[in-house]
């Protein structure tokens, strides 16, 4: 029982970076913009967070700098995609490559370095409780912050005027424009929010989760987050399920080894990707359902002067 609870707790921690990145993606895709550069933004944010935390000793400063790095890269993307109306997919891929290359270069002096020791996470005393202790009270602040963020985004999207405007821009930028809404302004804000989320995800990975800098350390989590959003049909609750599921299968393979189950470890390493895609594809197996939920203007540039 205790082991199951720690497995569940570890899954939540492992799923949190994907969750953070995916919720940001969800918001800007809801406005009709596809940014494939998330992996690169996460990497850039991760190395910045690590470098700043390493040199200043302050985790808060590291997180802030990482968010800034994410926002900066998102702004670069926005400049090309919204101002120059460049192809969103190509621009996103360029950002992904830029982030990966620049982070490897910046991180050169930091690889193999460590961060100062951090005490135990969570709420003192409560985390020592059996079963619910590790599950509910033993996490780093960011794990709770990610959950709050998902709830806030879900509430904002479907219960507020701002959310309505945001979705309107994604469904029909022409109508929104006719109503006097600044389509590019909304899209810019959503993109920058996505950049900040990718920054948090990278910072969490590099300073809390691992906590070490290694080249390409995000290991495809940004791409997984992009896929998660599609398979979750742009719904926050499903993104949450998908992210924790991915984390769960990642941890499960290690737990099975510890118990002594014999299976080729390469197969085990494949399992999280496979399981997440299968489950999410099953949840949203109706292609019409995906099309209905997909923001109608997704990936299409909008030029108010055209």
């Amino acid at each position: 029982m205790d082991a199951a609870a720690t497995l569940a707790a570890a899954s939540i921690a492992a799923g949190t970076p994907m969750l953070l990145a995916a919720i940001g993606i969800l918001v800007h895709e809801r406005t009709g913009v596809v940014n494939l550069g998330v992996e690169g933004m996460m990497l850039a944010a991760a190395v910045v967070a690590f470098a700043v935390t390493h040199d200043s000793g302050s985790y808060a400063l590291g997180f802030a700098a990482a968010m800034l790095a994410g926002v900066l890269l998102a702004a670069v993307f926005a400049f090309f995609a919204l101002v120059l109306h460049a192809n969103q997919y190509a621009t996103g891929l360029a950002i992904a490559l830029l982030g990966a290359g620049a982070s490897a270069f910046i991180g050169l002096p930091y690889s193999g370095q460590g961060l100062p020791a951090r005490g135990a996470d969570g709420v003192a005393l409560l985390r020592e409780l059996p079963v619910i202790g590790p599950l509910l009270f033993g996490h780093h602040l960011m794990v709770y912050a990610a959950l709050v963020l998902v709830l806030a985004v879900a509430w904002m999207l479907f219960r507020t005027r701002a959310g309505l405007v945001l979705r309107a821009v994604g469904e029909s930028p022409e109508s929104a424009h006719a109503l006097g809404i600044s389509v590019r302004g909304v899209r810019l804000a959503a993109l920058l929010f996505g950049g900040a989320c990718a920054g948090l995800a990278g910072a969490y990975l590099a300073t809390v989760y691992t906590p070490l800098w290694a080249e390409n350390m995000t290991a495809g989590r940004g791409w997984i987050a992009l896929a998660l959003v599609v398979f979750a049909t742009w719904r926050p609750a499903r993104v949450l399920v998908g992210a924790y599921l991915f984390g769960g299968v990642t941890m499960l393979q290690l737990y099975l080894q510890g118990i002594g189950v014999e299976a080729p470890s390469q197969l085990m390493s494949m399992a999280p990707y496979l399981a997440t895609i299968v489950v999410l594809a099953l949840i949203s197996r109706n292609p019409r359902w995906i099309r209905l939920n997909m923001p109608a203007s997704l990936g299409r540039p909008f030029n108010p002067n055209a």
């Binding site: 720690t6 570890a10 040199d55 910046i106 193999g112 460590g114 020791a117 290991a219 737990y255 390493s269």
Partner: protein, 376 residues
């Protein structure tokens, strides 16, 4: 200063992008760095490292050995190194480059460099090669290794004494004999003082993957291990134990900086004397390929950096065991030894030979699970 550096870099790359140029996907990772300028025909010695030098780990220890050799031999040698060389085709290219640049003695410091080293050695018969932890040699290829298991046994005694849950966790890289010797010696040491102790093993299939090492450590802690140790290169396992309020035995280097409370002790290996001796023999012209397997008596493996909070009698007991190994009075693999499938491996009083150790492919009694197939 470093912060300035990255801001400059990010700004520069953005400018480059704005000008419409494509950023290359990744900058070159491996560059040979000359450490001292050349002077009247010194011996050029090259080192190939599998991971970044960093400030703790396998490569850190080898690099300290290189520095020690450089300090001892002064102007008679110049050294260069290439870090973060992946095992495989890239390694061959790096080793060949070093040989072509005129290095006359090349140390390749990872198991997976074995075949690339042999291949390049054939092409450069006048260059001496030394490969760490492998088992294949040639006319110009020697091998050298450390009896890591000697330190592991002593650390096992410590872990057996200190565990409260009687469950110890071990994060392994690949199931090769070197790593299995460590797991088995650790288990035998722990059970010599605590017959109820059990060891759980998780393989991460990588020498250096901090994220996965940490996940594995957390999984072991989740399964009741209150002491974890690792045969991988980063400090992630010690850091994970510190965060979870558990204990750890560090490997390679003293990692107390990453786990001041968690680290009970560190099993460390030392190469400086061997590197100095080998370079000196090349300088003297009497180098021959040898198969060195140094241990505690050569000062190549140690248990050190004991945590100040450890009870004195426990430390004394561990150090007494280490002293007995060092003096040659005790061999960690002395029978009776049983496999964890129940078969007898060594009868009472029988000591496993080096050849038997080199072929180890099983867990001893006390380790949970089965060795996964095909490590190499």
């Amino acid at each position: 200063m470093r912060i300035l550096r990255w801001t400059a870099v990010v700004a520069a790359s953005m400018l480059a992008m704005a000008c419409g140029r494509q950023e290359p996907p990744a900058p070159p990772k491996a560059e040979a760095k000359a450490v001292l300028p050349a002077k009247a025909e010194p011996l050029k010695v090259g080192f190939v490292y599998v991971s970044p030098i960093g400030d703790a780990g396998w490569t850190t220890q080898h690099n300290r050995g290189r520095e020690q050799m450089q300090a001892a031999l002064g102007e008679k040698v110049t050294t260069s190194f290439v870090e973060k060389v992946p095992e495989g085709a890239d390694a061959e290219r790096v080793i060949r480059d070093l040989a072509a640049q005129g290095h006359k003695l090349i140390f390749t410091t990872s198991f997976g460099f074995m075949n690339p080293t042999l291949k390049v050695a054939e092409e450069f018969p006048d260059v001496k090669f030394e490969h760490a932890t492998g088992y294949k040699s040639a006319a110009n290829v020697g091998t050298y290794n450390v009896r890591f298991y000697e330190g592991r046994y002593a650390a096992g005694v410590l872990a057996g004494k200190m565990t409260k849950t009687n469950t110890l966790g071990y994060v392994g890289a690949f199931p090769i004999p070197e790593v299995l010797q460590g797991i088995n010696a650790f288990t035998l040491g722990a059970r010599s003082v605590n017959p109820k102790a059990q060891v759980r093993v998780i393989w991460v299939n990588s020498w250096y993957d901090p994220g996965k090492e940490r996940d594995a450590a957390n999984a072991l802690i989740g399964q009741g291990a209150d002491i974890v140790t690792h045969h991988t290169d980063s400090s992630a396992v010690v850091a994970a134990a510190e965060e979870k309020g558990r204990m750890a035995v560090a490997y390679h280097s003293d990692m107390s900086r990453f786990g001041p409370k968690a680290q009970l002790a560190a099993v460390t290996h030392h190469w400086g004397e061997y590197y100095t001796k080998t370079a000196q023999s090349v300088l003297d012209g009497n180098w021959k390929p040898s198969n060195i397997w140094g241990g505690m008596k050569d000062g190549m493996i140690k248990v050190e950096a004991f945590n100040a909070s450890l009870p004195k009698d426990v430390v004394d007991q561990v150090e007494a065991k280490a002293a007995a190994i060092k003096a040659g009075e005790f061999h960690p693999f002395t029978g009776p030894i049983a496999g964890n499938d129940g078969r007898e491996i060594a009868a009472k009083g029988v000591v496993l030979t080096d050849e038997q150790l080199g072929k180890m492919d099983y867990y001893v009694q006390g380790v949970i699970g089965k060795v996964p197939a095909a490590g190499k």
